[in-house]
Symmetry: C2
Subunit: 463 residues, 2 copies
């Protein structure tokens, strides 16, 4: 019988990260200071340690993974590449569907890949404490896990709607010794301002980022820094270990290359992780369709313009060149909390501008339907975020069937849904609705963005 799993030995773990910035056809636009002027690096140094900033701006193609980080990663890595034989059979598709199983990390998602690296670099730089935000809780759990292993204090601002939907995520973070606070909170000026204006807000990643950044900046001892779970270049860099392992494993499966590579996108990190090593191949001539999948409730790549915008609601971060719905945009409380982000990683945005990737948006009902098909065939219960990638993989497998083509489909199974079963309960009892962000809300949001003086549209994209 065909194999289900393609495993690498610990010694075969990739020893370098891949940096797409080295290979993009056009150079990346630089980040700007909040007033639109060139960025003063000193400002970044209060948010991130110097060794991380170095990685953030690097255009070196391969970056060595320090041995001590590799040692921690091998707690669960190399992660398995699995073939979805039961799903293929159910769909009667000639496609071969592979998925990189990132749900096997202790925190249950791909997030520890960068959490461990970031904690390690911060520790090395003499930092004692990290602050961060989390949406669905995957990132907060991952950073709590990493800080505990590396020996740093950790405070997590968790988006209120997810904090309420998933109280066990808090317990998970506390088990690893971290503090977890619902955002917006009264701990920060930014949080208090939002609460004044919108006392019943479900919160958003943009708000929680403001709180975490403000918290780190206000540490008088200068020993706190902020850590981000997605969006930035160094985060995406750390995640490329996913695609690099998958490449080795596809060889074990005797596949020359994937025809389709799929990842869900919120800030862009798991998508970039699985896809960038293949974007590199595409730049060098391979024919590969590469699809980031976002929710229709937060259609950044499919409906937003490519513009300079803040990463957070309060405007504490530098201006980033990215697809965005405007930093004041608060997405509906869909269950895929990790995809509720107004912006998009600059590297993913640039790859979209270059036409290297083909974004798509799915609604949450379609995604839960796909997730249940998955659970009933492959057996595992995916995170709501991951279900976006699964829905797309199913569509592509059906297309391969219609076309009679033996396509190789690879997607990132970014995390399990064991902490997200409340959403499944709603779906199974018919209480969940599809949500497409209406046109007038997109217009409102983009008008607000246009009026914001520092924002400017770049080269291409809608406005």
């Amino acid at each position: 019988m065909p194999k289900h799993k393609f495993l690498l030995e610990e010694k075969d773990i990739p020893r370098k990260w891949y940096n797409l910035a080295a290979d993009l056809p056009s150079p990346m636009q630089p980040p700007l200071a909040p007033d639109g002027s060139p960025l003063n690096p000193a400002m970044l140094e209060r948010i991130f340690p110097g060794n991380i900033i170095e990685q953030e701006i690097s255009t070196q193609r391969w970056i060595d993974i320090p041995e001590e980080i590799l040692e921690i990663l091998t707690l669960w890595r190399p992660a398995p590449l699995r073939r979805a034989l039961a799903l293929e059979k159910y769909l009667k598709t000639p496609a071969r569907i592979y998925y990189k199983d990132e749900s096997t990390s202790p925190a249950g998602s791909h997030k520890p890949n960068t959490a461990v690296a970031q904690a390690w670099y911060n520790k090395k730089f003499g930092i004692k404490r990290l602050t961060t935000e989390t949406g669905a809780g995957q990132w907060g759990s991952a950073l709590a896990f990493a800080c505990n292993l590396i020996g740093l204090q950790c405070r997590v601002y968790m988006v209120r709607i997810s904090f309420d939907q998933k109280p066990m995520r808090k317990t998970m973070m506390q088990t690893w010794g971290a503090e977890c606070i619902a955002s917006p909170s009264t701990h920060t000026h930014a949080g208090r301002e939002v609460l004044k204006a919108m006392p019943h807000t479900p919160g958003s990643l943009g708000i929680a980022i403001s709180e975490a950044v403000e918290d780190a900046l206000s540490d008088k001892s200068n020993k706190s820094r902020y850590s981000l779970g997605s969006v930035l270049n160094h985060v995406l860099l750390h995640q490329t270990i996913i695609g690099l392992e998958a490449k080795k494993q596809l060889k074990l499966a005797k596949e020359k290359k994937p025809d389709v590579v799929i990842g869900c996108v919120g800030g862009g990190s798991n998508f970039a992780g699985v896809a960038f090593p293949f974007v590199c191949d595409k730049i060098h001539g391979e024919k590969i369709q590469i699809i980031p999948v976002e929710p229709t409730a937060c259609p950044t790549l499919t409906k937003g313009p490519f513009a300079y915008d803040f990463g957070d609601i309060a405007g504490l971060t530098p201006l980033l060149p990215m697809y965005t719905l405007g930093h004041k945009f608060v997405p509906e409380p869909i269950h895929a909390g990790g995809l509720r982000y107004h912006g998009m990683a600059p590297l993913v945005s640039q790859a979209a501008v270059e036409g290297l990737i083909s974004p798509r948006a799915y609604d949450q009902v379609k995604c839960y339907e796909s997730a249940v098909i998955w659970a009933k065939t492959e057996g595992t219960i995916p995170a709501p975020e991951t279900s976006h990638a699964i829905a797309c993989a199913i569509d592509e497998a059906k297309k391969a069937k219609a076309e009679g083509k033996q396509k190789v489909i690879l997607f990132c199974y970014s995390g399990h849904g064991l902490m997200d079963l409340a959403g499944y309960d709603k779906f199974l009892t018919g209480k969940l609705s599809a949500y497409h962000l209406p046109g007038h809300k997109i217009q409102d949001s983009l008008c607000a963005l246009k009026k914001f003086p520092a924002a400017k549209k770049i080269k291409t994209g809608r406005w």
Copy 2:
């Protein structure tokens, strides 16, 4: 650096189960009918299909695993053997601690090993629907998962206390298409009787078994059967794949043999799974200490007599020769719901009588302390049941340190605790207390057992 993981290829999965009944020094006592007379096999045939009964009474040493079962097991098997390097370092122990990671199954525990086999044999026998009980929810989830893949209907009676503590387990079962009902329920005569006598009972496995058996027996079409997740010989048989894989993997790790083998025990299945292949070696002369660990709240092996008793509260099952606290005993609502069982697998009981295994009891506070040490070193969050094995492994590693011996310790990491975080929350906020079943309660319970006419003490053991 030393390796964390010892992986087998799918082709190296064991193809036979090991049956300890073939090797026990004394023959097993037979099960008896509820009135104490020799058992009429026809009664069993209304509860279990013939092919399962055949396995239940088999004394054949090796039993072939059907190819179709192997194909489903390879969705997640072979399961990894991991070495707890970080815990060893934390304990500064010369011991090498290995754990067989059964948490990697879709349902999150070792339970699917037998759920898949049982569903397959029932389907082959023409059965359409299975009923069962579940404590913590691990077994119910596993059977829901297996029935969905094999194509059977499934109804699960879940012990009320766990149903309330872990509502997400219900959603998990429903995602796989099963029904999940809190027990005691009004669906059965047995449930209604218990509710009448104890309206606020937390429920117990003994009660839920009565309900599930009655439900299967009352199907007029004769197409329903009952499925048990532990205790019986065939269940333990299916779990021996755990220890058989572990043996191959210890060879990969270049270990000659384990010095200590540990598993938590409720009904006995994960313990038997990891331990029986090594009990076989012990019978043939190897020096191995084999430790089943039970909760002090339900000290069946350490405080109960070896006697004939019912498997359920209502007395619907045959009388089994086992260590027992009496079938009317309802354990305190500790968080390790899977260990709240008044009896013990006859095969495990017999191994204890023969002196082949050395039972031990731990309280839940000690177990949660060990679980948090584990989470902070090895990174993963164990099930409360599993934490009993971890507590013992830590004790044994400390003992090896005190003795200056390089012992090899193997334990079964029977499941993850991601659905059990409510217990961690209580522990972390100081709301959990150690619970030792007081002597007078044990005396009461055993008096009740003695008065029960069909029960009789066997050979040895307390009374």
